[in-house]
């Protein structure tokens, strides 16, 4: 199961340039009575140590399924049918000085001991619903201590101390008292912090945050985003940040992966994606969102139509029925492939040459949106 990329190289030091997590051509399908839903259809991206990768997309784009596939917590009926997820794991989970090895997560059984140890100790999840993540009949502290005891070889007393420390680290005041409260006694913001504390309790090197701020208000959201940034910088934790909110992604991510109906449309650094988007979908999406910085009562350029149901995903490029650059016979005939248009900037579109990433058509010239005052 444990594979090494270069068998000649000792695993200890020489993985330094490897990504922490490497996802290659991941495909996860839902097999249902009505047919197959290709929820994730060939997704690849790398997570470098200490970086935040944002996965952004609308409903049905497969961002959550990607996360579940990485953690191997897909619901029944869904299966990984292809692809490789390689984790640069520590041999002794949770120990910052441990030697490292490469583990192919896709080869592990979802319920295997090794996979269970990786979840929590190497990769931790910050779920969307903090209310559902804690059991209402146990104190928050007990639940965090349980996680710690499961993954680390410490006494109960030490576990409690670790829990208090992470509570303090996530900015919960009076951690010694708060740790003995139940989740329903905490306010929304505190609960979200407690969830982050639980995720951090075993020193994972990768956090997966699945829409962690969708359920909370904007002022609390700003607090949580700031906290995540701070923790990430202090601990050099990598984060996969999943959201539909382009604003949040722009604030959080170093690298951005834009998904649409199970496929990666574009990926690159946040600056490239937000300032120099190349895919027609990303461009149109960015133009169509209202911003606090734009004029009020101005007509927004829209994306026509609506997202196809994953059951009837359009043939070819899944975005082609809504694309203003649609080329008959091309976009609806075959699936495009990711093309590197610039350094570390990939676009999944027929407008770019597969050979060298050069723009094949001038039509893509980006013009500012028409402002029509009302």
């Amino acid at each position: 199961m444990v594979t090494q990329v270069h068998p000649l190289i000792k695993p200890t030091n020489d993985l330094a340039n490897e990504p922490l997590l490497k996802v290659e051509d991941l495909k996860a399908y839902f097999f249902m009575d009505e047919g197959i839903v290709r929820a994730v259809d060939g997704v690849s991206f790398d997570v470098m140590p200490g970086k935040v990768v944002g996965i952004v997309g609308e409903s049905g784009c497969g961002k959550s399924v990607t996360m579940k596939a990485i953690l191997q917590i897909l619901e029944s009926g869904a299966k990984i049918v292809n692809g490789k997820v390689t984790l640069r794991s520590r041999v002794h989970h949770g120990d910052p000085n441990s030697a490292e090895e490469l583990i192919e997560l896709t080869h592990l059984h979802p319920n295997s001991r090794q996979m269970r140890r990786i979840r929590g100790a190497e990769i931790a999840l910050i779920p969307q619903e903090p209310m559902a993540a804690f059991s209402p009949v146990h104190t928050v502290g007990n639940q965090i201590m349980e996680t710690i005891l499961l993954h680390q070889d410490v006494s109960k007393k030490e576990a409690r101390q670790i829990a208090v420390d992470v509570f303090r680290a996530v900015g919960i005041s009076m951690p010694e008292q708060r740790i003995d409260s139940y989740s329903w006694q905490l306010s929304g913001g505190l609960r979200q912090r407690a969830i982050i504390a639980m995720a951090l309790s075993c020193n994972p090197r990768l956090l997966i945050a699945d829409e962690p701020t969708t359920a909370i208000d904007v002022t609390t959201q700003a607090q949580i985003l700031k906290l995540l940034r701070k923790l990430q910088e202090e601990r050099q934790t990598s984060i996969i940040f999943i959201t539909h909110d382009l604003g949040v992604i722009a604030q959080m991510a170093d690298e951005v992966v834009v998904m649409y109906l199970g496929m990666v449309m574009e990926k690159g650094s946040a600056m490239k994606i937000f300032k120099d988007a190349q895919h027609p979908y990303t461009q149109a999406l960015l133009r169509s969102i209202p911003s606090v910085q734009s004029h009020s009562r101005v007509k927004l350029p829209t994306i026509a139509g609506s997202i196809a149901h994953p059951f009837n995903r359009p043939k070819g490029c899944p975005f082609h029925p809504r694309c203003t650059h649609f080329m008959r016979g091309v976009c609806d005939a075959a699936q495009p492939h990711l093309v590197e248009v610039d350094e570390d900037h990939f676009v999944n579109c027929f407008l770019y040459s597969e050979a060298d990433g050069a723009k094949l058509m001038d039509k893509i010239e980006t013009a500012p949106p028409v402002e029509k005052s009302l």
Partner: protein, 405 residues
């Protein structure tokens, strides 16, 4: 790998673009007159215009067990409507000399020809134990006929018929066809079962109908109006549900005068069963009303000025009808089992009325069971009916909300 040649991407190599205008004007123009393309396939169109009941049916028919159970229930329903058609003789007819005749199975072939018959049975008394020993005499054949004519009966009070499922081929002589044997008094078990099915199923269904009416009415009032009336109804429900059922039923049924006619007893029992049955349903209806009151589409109707009656009849009741049907279907077997148990204990229906419970009374002691196991067939029918109702009810419940996916 679909390798697209770059030259295809040149504008001249491309089929005419739909939108030739510069992109921004295109999007803006589309925003104004935006229309999504009509879905083209017939399948999609079929789903688009499928009503709620159609969707429920599509989902229900995927459930094989539920569909099979539906067929079983339809069969039982025909027995309920036309017990005479299924009976081979009068269920009341006694003949002490024909007691405990075992099952006579139909033989289909007679000398290589399709000519169904039953062997005749001859009884001899064991001189020591005085027990009747029945032996089949395969040489003496009673030919039977399917859909033949025999005594006439009235079909649902509409017209007379004399067609029966099974009858003796020769109507001039006395035919002895005991497909499920006979009981202690020599009554034909098969024919009695047909009539028992009528009584037992009807009791179950009528008491559920009474429960539904009561439950809808009281639950609806409780849920829609709320306030003190809701409080009173809820307390009443709690009171009724806190009464121990079996002693109450025993007491009530035991209090029925012995002199009452079977019809009177029948109605009294349905009422007794329904008296408690409505409470569960009323709670369900109330819950539905409470949650529906919060639905946006109900508020929208309210804001458009719709009357309360219209909101209840057009928006609320149709929304939970399928659930009510499912719940009622699941309630029928409970009623059937209750009636059967009461009758079995001698407290429900009483002879000469025939119900599954009354018939099972005959199979109360181990001796009869050992000697005449066919007397247990009503129990088998009870199991089949209860299972079928439960499976159909479950199927309906799962199919009832086609919008959950």
């Amino acid at each position: 790998m679909d390798n697209i040649e770059p030259k295809i991407l040149q504008p001249e190599g491309v089929a005419p673009l739909e939108k030739a205008e510069p992109e921004i004007e295109a999007t803006a123009a589309r925003a104004e007159t935006f229309e999504e393309p009509l879905t083209t396939t017939q399948e999609e169109e079929r789903i688009s215009i499928a009503s709620n009941w159609t969707l429920v049916w599509w989902r229900f028919r995927k459930n094989v067990l539920a569909v099979i159970s539906t067929v079983v229930l339809i069969f039982l329903a025909t027995v309920v409507l036309l017990p005479d058609f299924f009976a081979t003789m009068s269920p009341e007819k006694t003949n002490a000399r024909l007691a405990f005749i075992p099952v006579q199975s139909i033989h289909w072939l007679d000398e290589g020809q399709l000519k169904p018959w039953v062997p005749s049975v001859e009884g001899k008394r064991d001189p020591v134990t005085l027990k009747m020993l029945w032996t089949t005499d395969e040489t003496q054949k009673t030919y039977v006929k399917f859909f033949g004519s025999s005594w006439s009966y009235s079909v649902l009070g509409l017209f007379e018929s004399n067609i029966h499922l099974v009858s003796g081929a020769d109507q001039t002589q006395e035919n002895q066809i005991f497909l499920l044997g006979t009981d202690r008094l020599g009554r034909d078990q098969w024919s009695r079962l047909a009539f028992a099915t009528r009584i037992s199923m009807t009791i179950g269904m009528i008491s559920v109908i009474v429960s539904v009416v009561l439950g809808l009415l009281l639950g609806g009032i409780s849920g829609y109006f709320g306030g003190w009336i809701d409080n009173i109804i809820q307390r009443l429900i709690e009171l009724l549900q806190s009464l121990p059922t079996i002693p109450i039923w025993l007491a009530l049924t035991a209090a029925l005068p012995r002199t009452w006619s079977p019809e009177k007893v029948f109605f009294a029992i349905t009422i007794i069963l329904a008296l408690r049955g409505w409470t569960t349903l009323a709670r369900e209806v109330r819950g539905r009303f409470l949650s529906l009151r919060e639905e946006d589409f109900v508020l929208a109707a309210e804001l458009s000025g719709a009357s309360q009656a219209r909101i209840i009849l057009k928006h609320m009741i149709p929304t939970f009808t399928s659930h009510i049907i499912a719940t009622s279907t699941l309630a029928i077997p409970v009623m059937i089992v209750t009636e059967t148990s009461l009758s079995f204990l001698g407290l429900g229906m009483r002879p000469p009325a025939i119900s599954w419970g009354v018939m099972l009374q005959e199979a109360q002691n181990i001796q009869t069971l050992a000697l005449a196991p066919w007397l247990l067939t009503p129990g088998l029918i009870v199991i089949v009916a209860v299972l079928a109702f439960n499976l159909v009810g479950d199927g309906l419940r799962d199919a009832a909300d086609p919008y959950s996916h």
